[in-house]
């Protein structure tokens, strides 16, 4: 087992989160370096995820590293029936670091136990996606100047959205106030409410998406996914309730920024894109710096 791996956002302490964010800011100033010169990073994408993969591979390239790997499992020995254990063992012989995306939950933790080199989880099913959380935190830090004492509004699919859950856990170190805006079918799971109550974190739940967002420092939008609904009628009822339109932003705070893990469908109207409070495209770019910092930490560079 390698404790340098990053599988779950809980693997980082508050201090480590801050350390990695500070490092990300350095990479933003000087993205190109040769820290990974002579190193080989395996990029194992057992399911396609173009955005995440390109972000990681850009980070590795900018640090001078070389990449081996595959972009979906159809081009790997998985199709021949090889187990994750065997694939991981074999690849960890070849490389200095593994970046892994896998549809099965818990696969990254298991791989980190089997592998001789650190494993960075680039998403394991509906479970964890810590590099997304780090880029969300970096975006919040950059736009607000701090992570402490912020009003965080989360909107949309709060039940299944793993980015929401991981961000909630990570922000819990920083005395946030959460507002959750979701239909009852997609409300924040009970386990997280118990967690917040235990840790004295203030939170409020709303079903209406209206001018309560005027208090927000961060508005974290997510996609309401059709496939989450057992009853298509239920989806039709809620799908247009949580759409952010430009005119809803007129009385929001000046420092407020809109985040979205992307891809979006229709939950943010296109007219918001030109609003200076829209931050989701910059947020995606921040992912490269956050991932550079995560890689540097995993390899102790």
């Amino acid at each position: 087992m390698d404790n340098k791996s990053l599988v779950s956002i809980d693997d980082y302490t508050k201090e480590e989160i801050l350390e990695v964010l500070a490092r990300a800011a350095e990479f933003e100033k000087n993205p190109n370096c040769s820290l990974l010169e002579g190193k080989v990073v395996a990029s194992l994408f057992f399911e396609p995820s173009t955005r995440t993969r390109l972000s990681f591979e850009t980070a590795i390239s900018r640090m001078g590293g070389r990449i081996v790997g595959f972009t979906d499992s159809s081009s790997s020995s998985v199709t021949k029936g090889e187990t994750l254990k065997d694939t991981t063992k074999m690849v960890s012989n070849y490389c200095d670091l593994i970046v892994m995306r896998h549809p099965i939950e818990g696969s990254a933790r298991y791989a980190s136990e089997v592998s001789d080199v650190p494993v960075i989880n680039a998403g394991d099913g509906a479970n964890q996606h810590p590099s997304q959380t780090m880029l969300d935190l970096y975006s919040i830090m950059k736009t607000q100047g701090t992570l402490e004492n912020l009003n965080i509004f989360m909107v949309g699919d709060l039940k299944y959205g793993r980015t929401v859950h991981s961000l909630l856990m990570a922000l819990s170190h920083f005395n946030p106030t959460f507002h959750f805006i979701a239909p009852p079918e997609l409300e924040i799971p009970r386990g997280y409410k118990i967690f917040m109550e235990k840790n004295n974190i203030k939170y409020f739940e709303h079903t209406e998406f209206n001018d309560i967002i005027n208090d927000a420092d961060i508005l974290y939008m997510t996609r309401v996914q059709k496939e989450r609904f057992a009853d298509p009628l239920e989806y039709e009822k809620v799908k247009n309730v949580y759409i952010l339109k430009n005119d809803m932003l007129s009385n929001t705070k000046d420092n407020m920024r809109i985040l979205h893990p992307l891809p979006r469908v229709n939950e943010i109207a296109v007219d918001v894109d030109t609003n200076p409070k829209a931050y989701y495209f910059e947020q995606a770019l921040n992912g490269v710096y956050a991932r550079q910092a995560i890689i540097a930490k995993a390899l102790n560079l």
């Binding site: 187990t83 939950e105 818990g106 696969s107 933790r109």
Partner: protein, 152 residues
């Protein structure tokens, strides 16, 4: 104690009595403790009257003394079980079953999309609540609650 007229399962000279097992879990307790493969003489009764559980089971194993670690495995399904250590037909020691902090390789994760249900991985859980016993998977991080605990 002396008012007991008749023992429902005969007494043993030396060994361990496990009492207050929920009746429906008798055979799972036997499996977890490996008693189905034991060479010791094992006697048990099931569906006996119990004030605590309604119906209970009791197991008596001759000449067998469990390590705490071994016996705590059954706390997953029999959290109220009580142990009497018998020496020379007398209760020499009483023990209660305690929840372990970790559960390794006994229970199944209830998440069908968990790696432990896809590949041959030994399951590992943290016990996050003792009563009712609630497990959090070390791998997929999902909760398996008491009602859904299945023994491997």
């Amino acid at each position: 104690m002396n008012t007991k007229k008749e023992l429902q399962v005969s007494a043993i000279e030396n060994g361990t009595v496990i009492d207050h097992i929920p009746a429906e879990y008798l055979f799972q307790v036997i499996t977890i403790l490996g008693l189905d493969k034991s060479k010791n003489s094992v006697t048990f009764g099931n569906n006996l009257e119990s004030k605590l559980l309604g119906k209970k089971a009791i197991i008596k194993i001759s000449d067998k003394f469990f390590e705490d670690e071994e016996i705590n495995k059954i706390s997953l399904i029999a959290p109220h079980a009580k142990l009497n250590i018998i020496r020379d037909y007398k209760v020499a020691e009483k023990k209660i079953v305690e929840s372990p902090e970790k559960v390794i390789g006994i229970a199944k994760c209830m998440n069908p999309k968990c790696i432990t249900n896809v590949e041959a991985v030994t399951t590992r859980f943290k016990v996050i609540n003792n009563s009712p016993i609630t497990l959090k998977c070390h791998y997929c991080e999902k909760i398996t609650d008491h009602k859904n605990i299945e023994i491997v």
